[in-house]
């Protein structure tokens, strides 16, 4: 099994055990990321409980179309990443499919960042940056936008790391440095990518949906 020996790393003697350890390790890391973004969600919830009407007014100012399209883009990137991961998993040698899906995932990630850039520009034009020239009268609305700018940029950084990881994978797989079948790095990158998507799934209703109905 030449693939396995190429992927075997220190200090493991048995490849299946190494894969299982890699998967377990990334899931433990995702648990820490859950608490990382969970603490931010708690900040949002506490501020919203203390200033409900200001948060609703601030939520109304966000551009829901950018938010919805971005959520769709990220969900689609999760689809292509899942197909790539499951393709690498299966014993049918689907090397070209996996590489194609990984590239698609990276491109969708980039699309998300570009759309985010446009949204940021529009927010700046509408003076939604907390500080002196803030647009909305309610002062607690500045808390909402303090949270908005912070959490979307932290999420964008995590997404960029994801894009870099996927890009590296595509580069390494194209140059045949690593085999595709049962490659633990694909599985680990996929799990990380899905987490970044889940974080955005939760951010969407918090940032874009408040204040639409009233």
């Amino acid at each position: 099994m030449s693939d396995e020996t190429a992927l075997l790393r220190e200090p493991w003697l048995d490849f299946a055990r190494q894969r299982e350890a890699g998967k377990f390790g990334i899931w433990v890391f995702l648990a820490s990321e859950t608490l990382f973004f969970g603490a931010l969600m708690l900040t949002y919830m506490v501020c919203r409980i203390e200033h409900p009407e200001a948060f609703v007014a601030a939520g109304r100012e966000t551009n829901i179309w950018y938010g919805t399209i971005n959520t769709a883009v990220l969900l689609t990137s999760s689809l292509t990443m899942a197909v790539a991961a499951q393709g690498a998993e299966s014993y049918a040698r689907l090397r070209r499919l996996v590489i194609a899906c990984l590239t698609l995932t990276a491109l969708l990630g980039l699309a998300f960042i570009v759309i985010k850039g446009f949204e940021y520009k529009e927010d700046m034009d509408k003076h939604l940056v907390p500080g002196a020239g803030f647009e909305l009268p309610e002062r607690a609305a500045q808390l909402f936008y303090g949270f908005y700018w912070l959490v979307t940029s932290v999420h964008a950084i995590h997404l960029s790391i994801g894009i870099a990881l996927v890009g590296r994978l595509v580069w390494v797989l194209l140059r045949r440095e690593l085999p595709v079948t049962e490659n633990p790095e694909i599985e680990v990158t996929a799990l990380y990518w899905h987490l970044v998507d889940i974080v955005w799934i939760f951010l969407y209703p918090l940032i874009y949906l408040p204040g639409r109905s009233s």
């Binding site: 859950t34 506490v46 969900l75 689809l79 899942a82 049918a92 799934i201």
Partner: protein, 99 residues
């Protein structure tokens, strides 16, 4: 190197399975979008969060294949949520009960 002949059905099964999940996710997204415009007061806010939970369950269980993972992996996944919910509960016991 073209794909080996017998991989056709595996690829088709792969795509169909995941496209169904993806379609469900998109549908939920639309529902949450539409739901946000229906003035139901607190239920509107709750609907957004509940649908987000549903979407993330789909991604975790099916895309990340937690449903078929070993119990150890499931334990790792749940561990974070246990302490997160404890953090929320105890912090809100302060915020909501302030005189």
């Amino acid at each position: 190197m073209s794909e080996p002949a017998n991989s056709g059905p595996t690829v088709r099964r792969l795509w169909t399975r995941n496209l169904v999940i993806w379609a469900a996710l998109m549908a939920l997204l639309l529902v949450s979008l539409v739901g946000a415009y229906i003035p139901m007061g607190r239920i509107t806010t709750a609907s957004g969060i509940v649908i987000a939970i549903a979407k993330s369950m789909l991604v975790v269980l099916l895309f990340m294949e937690l449903a078929f993972a070993k119990p150890l992996i499931r334990l790792a996944a749940i561990a974070g949520l246990v302490f997160l919910s404890a953090m929320f509960a105890l912090t809100l016991s302060d915020i909501l009960a302030r005189p």
